[in-house]
């Protein structure tokens, strides 16, 4: 169980997050949505302790989360990674074992096994020797999910995993999310995606500097909540005929 109480974050003198409180239960798949600049990525980074927090606390199973880094895996935005980096898929997944191996440690048979299990769970074992720049966007995302699995993390934060992937890949990633969920993993997914995909989450957190809504998809995506979160840009969203969020 992840508990966030009254979290506030300042960025270059501005309040990027204000009194954010939330709870994530074991095996929950939670979507984090909101407009650009709402503080979604900031929230993920603050939870991980990558940026300083001005107030509040983040507890995982009763203890501060930044002290239990082994329990949490972070999948950065695609743009943060150089996909031409000379590294194979299998070795990316092995990076998940880095802290468990410790300084000067070499991969043991157990580490190798965990990497194999993780790759098999996301259906990428056959691709382990491929350089990452020879994989499709969806395959690259699955490799990063496998890294989180190999790490043995119970809590997985994903920053925009659907950005730039096509519909079949999106469906495939959702399938992997469900598998992880069934293994008791908790997933917090920061996403720009709208539409039917939102109904796949157990809960949605609508964010704009503060929590606007925290409820199952149908209750979170009310016109009022969207208006409060998206404000002026709402008109543009509603004008888009491909916006089926009201149906959910």
């Amino acid at each position: 169980m992840l508990e966030v109480c009254q979290l506030s974050v300042q960025y270059r003198g501005l309040l990027a997050l204000e009194n954010v409180s939330l709870r994530l239960g074991d095996g929950e798949l939670v979507g984090l949505i909101g407009p650009n600049g709402a503080g979604k990525s900031t929230l993920l980074k603050a939870l991980l302790g990558l940026i300083p927090i001005a107030a509040g606390r983040v507890l995982f199973r009763g203890r501060p989360l930044p002290r239990q880094r082994q329990q949490v895996a972070y999948m950065p935005q695609r743009s943060q990674i150089d996909w031409d980096y000379p590294i194979t898929a299998g070795r990316v997944v092995m990076l998940g074992r880095t802290t468990a191996m410790g300084w000067f440690g070499k991969p043991t048979a157990q580490d190798q096994q965990r990497v194999q299990d993780a790759l098999e769970q996301v259906g990428m074992w056959a691709y382990r020797h491929r350089p990452i720049n020879e994989l499709s966007g969806g395959q690259q995302q699955r490799i990063f999910l496998a890294r989180a699995l190999a790490q043995g993390a119970d809590l997985i934060f994903l920053d925009e995993p659907f950005a730039g992937v096509d519909k079949p890949t999106e469906a495939l990633l959702l399938q992997v999310f469900m598998t992880l969920k069934s293994l008791g993993k908790t997933l917090l997914v920061c996403s720009h995606e709208w539409g039917p995909v939102l109904t796949q989450y157990d809960r949605l957190l609508v964010l704009n500097r503060r929590v606007i809504a925290d409820a199952p998809p149908h209750q979170a995506m009310t016109l009022e909540n969207i208006q409060r979160a998206y404000g002026e840009s709402l008109g543009a969203i509603l004008a888009d005929p491909h916006t089926p969020f009201l149906a959910c």
């Binding site: 980096y85 590294i87 802290t99 020879e134």
Partner: protein, 282 residues
Amino acid sequence: MFLLDPLRYEFMRLALASGLISGLLCPVVGTYLIVQRMALLGDVIAHAVLPGLVVAQFFRVDMLLGAFVSGMCSTFVTAWIRTQSRVKVDSAMALTFSSFLSLGILLFTLLRSRLDLEHLLFGDILGTTLTDLVQMGLITLLVLGIVTLFYKEFLFYTFDRLGAEAAGLPVRTLYVGLMALITLAIIVGMQAVGVILVITLLVGPAITAYLLVRELHQMMLLGAVFGIGSSVAGLYLSYYLNLPSGPAIALVVFGLFLLALLFSPTQGILTRPKPTPGDPSR
């Protein structure tokens, strides 16, 4: 006979050993610069060692120490400008580079330095002494030892900095460590090809290898092979054709890079496989 003839002279034996050492070390460390898209930082550090050398000589301190401190300072100044403002890293590097070089030239004049500026800028591989060689060898052992010991941590850090930090790796320490390794490699490479051309040994052989291999450690190993090959070939060219050795080495490096660019089996302009439409692996 062609290969053995230059070895009759001690200065050539020492020069070849110096070329071997810098050709081995620079590409290994330069690999980290390339994968972080920070190749120009090598140039910044190389030029930034100048004020340290002048001051160290003036106060009769070990020149290596002066070069190291000064080179490290330039990396801190670059990082400081980048993190404390909206200024992007390329601009920060350009400013740091020219400022440290200016400071070096200024101090050179003010302190009436007796350093040989030409040797510093263009290298003095033929003037390598046994003491130089021992120092270079020890630094190389130290740097390669650290790269081997912390390979997986540096791999994680350079591939996915945020992910590494989230996993609990001390990314700031790793950054400083990496900068220290790069500065040390530059100090070693400087002896062979000088401040201006050391970037060629750091970057050239490693990017040549980058076009041929799939993984970081392979890039380091093959880069070292190319680095050593270029240094030795450049020295022989310099011996037989009476060319300045630094530029000869640099141009051999570039020649090898061009060959890889044209003929790499997977990425060569003339040899890479044509993409087939509907390739299921993409």
